[in-house]
Amino acid sequence: MSLQVSDLRVYYRTLAGDVKALDGATFSIADKEIMGLAGESGCGKSTLGNSLIRLDGRMKYIAGSVTLDDNVMPIWDKTGMNQFRFRDVSVIPQYAMSAMNPTCKIGKMTEELLESRGENFREIKPEFLRRIDLVGLQRDVLTRYPMELSGGMKQRMVMVISTLLNPSLLIADEITSALDVSTQRAVAETLVSFRDHGFVKSMMVITHDMSILYQIADSILVMYAGKLAEKAPTSVVIERPLHPYTRMLVSSLPEVGVRYADKKLTGIPGSPPSLLNPPTGCRFRARCPLAFAKCAEEPPFVEVDTDHAVACWKATGTDA
């Protein structure tokens, strides 16, 4: 078991009180697994991703534990995490286009980065160049400034740098959303090839785009309003989802081949609740067409089938 997260809670401190952006997450990612993390904006998916590598000043660790390869990660400890970051857990940030130092040539920047971690750049360089070839970039990017590269090239460059020390876990946060379809596909396929080459052991791909996840992910975790809604292998989430939110999310996506004239799709009425004072019980209750009395109690996130966990009273069959 590569990553094991149990009951993780991370809140944001605001003047109005704590925003419960991540309110109890329990899941695991196996070795060689690419897990997709999907949900609407504000559902806490980026908070979950960030909390596994770096809590920023506004984020407050409340409870829970994170274990990576049998080592407990002290995610509440800023300096204690330093020995894990980059080496064991690495990130491709949401705005990878602007993640590189604009005043520095890319080669120099990478060298400084590695030496600050006590690694020898010269030893790593052959492998570094090999990976640059692998993602289809020219080796002379090392002597260029980030602004000389296009968005897709920068994205791939950051991917190579982030995974240079073969981390156990790679967190990829919305890395395809700012790209054009053809570049999007190339970047997504590069992610898969990184896993296949063993550069990273397992991956968490955060995106709001379910169709990208269907292409690359082994399993999908759907979040809603700070809670986990459903986790299952990709084909199960897409073909046979149990949680009503997943079902509505999947069916509200227009696909190539679906025309307004033939089949009118519908969205999900309403909007997610405020996380400042989230409602009790199931948080999807107000928008859920299946809600019933029992939903005033909070549904547990339980396994209903092999590798298929869901937080819904209807799906767990308790209403019978």
């Binding site: 609407e40 904006s41 289809g136 968005g151 054009d180 379809v181 053809s182 570049t183 999007q184 596909r185 190339a186 997504a188 396929e189 709001h208 785009d209 379910m210 169709s211 990208i212 269907y214 292409q215 897409i238 073909e239 509505m248 999310l249 999947v250 509200s252 996506l253 227009p254 696909e255 190539v256 081949g257 679906v258 025309r259 307004y260 009118k264 799709l265 519908t266 969205g267 999900i268 909007s271």
Partner: protein
């Protein structure tokens, strides 16, 4: 109704404006009443530039755009004001379309002070209520609120409602869905389809092929400022012919098919000679630059389906066979 005739836009770039960059090259298409035309292209393909030229936010370098036979480049002064009564745009980021220190419904007030000074207050508020209702919002919930109190989807729909207050013929919708969440984007899309049935012409600018395919009658595919393929949506997506269109169609992530499967299932191109159908038809045509006025830019390969020259494609590294 709205007609673009060999429109080009050349920007001057470089420190002293010494260099030229052709953002849009020889683009011609029409948007008719009750029709959604989707303009699809990657970033930098010139799709937003075309939208801005229609909205008269930037000048046209060559060619002409006409609305009901009137050349819009000559429209000025009071005629321009009445042009905007018929042509409006909605843009990608709803949050930056509002002034955050005023209430969101100020956008309606501005319309009133410009176009409807004579209308009585009660009549006006009925009109606003009707417009807000027609975009599937509850006036009590969204009026009299500040932009930060509303969601992106609500703000975007209010902007469409604002456009509805006018006697609109053409709506330029520039990436209006991209910033919205999956659960709300389809509602805005369905709203566009309702407007279409009321006789409005919509230019739907997007980079997302599945959205364009869902809603539009006609599709125009742009690459580096030039039209590579256009025509009726079923024909363009059913038989993609230009290598670039084929690359796009095969790269769209789908929910029930993997990428390799999409590639395998792609219909073979119509003009299956392997060569460039444009140069098969016009062997003497040039390859680059703005074409002479008497030279065509596209060739019709089946009824209502046009394809441009394949040569533009030479620089792409990944090709789909």
């Amino acid at each position: 109704m709205l007609s673009l005739n060999r429109v080009s836009k050349i920007y001057s770039t470089g420190t002293f404006g010494g260099k030229e960059m052709t953002a849009v090259r020889d683009v011609s298409f029409d948007v008719n009443t009750g029709e959604v035309v989707s303009l699809i292209g990657e970033s930098g393909s010139g799709k937003t530039t075309i939208g801005k030229m229609i909205l008269k936010l930037i000048d046209i370098s060559h060619g002409s755009i006409t609305l009901d036979e009137t050349d819009i480049s000559a429209v000025r002064g009071s005629a321009l004001k009445s042009y905007y009564e018929h042509v409006q745009g909605v843009f990608q980021d709803p949050f930056s379309s509002y002034n955050p220190i005023f209430k969101a419904d100020r956008v309606f007030g501005l319309i009133r002070s410009e176009y409807f000074r004579g209308v009585a207050a009660s009549e006006w508020s009925d009109k606003v209520d009707a417009a807000v209702r027609s975009v599937a919002l509850d006036p009590g919930q969204v009026l009299n609120k500040y932009p930060h109190q509303l969601s992106g989807g609500q703000l975007q729909r209010l902007l469409i409602a604002r456009a509805l207050l006018l006697d609109l013929k053409i709506l330029v919708a520039d990436e209006i869905i991209s910033m919205l969440d999956a659960s709300t984007r389809i509602d805005v899309l369905n709203l566009l389809a309702d407007l279409k049935s009321r006789g409005m012409g919509i230019l739907f600018i997007t980079h997302d092929l599945s959205l364009g395919n869902y809603i539009s009658e006609k599709t125009v595919i742009l690459r580096r400022g030039a039209v590579v393929e256009m025509g009726e949506t079923e024909k363009v997506f059913g038989h993609p012919t230009h290598p670039y269109t084929r690359l796009l169609v095969s790269s769209v992530p789908q929910l029930h098919k993997k990428w390799t499967q999409i590639e395998d299932e792609l219909e073979p191109p119509i003009a299956g000679t392997g060569g460039c159908p444009f140069h098969d038809a016009y062997p003497l045509a040039g390859h680059q630059g703005v074409r002479p006025v008497d030279e065509p830019t596209l060739v019709e390969i089946e009824e209502g389906h046009f394809v441009g020259c394949f040569e533009l494609e030479n620089e792409t590294s990944r090709q789909v066979a």
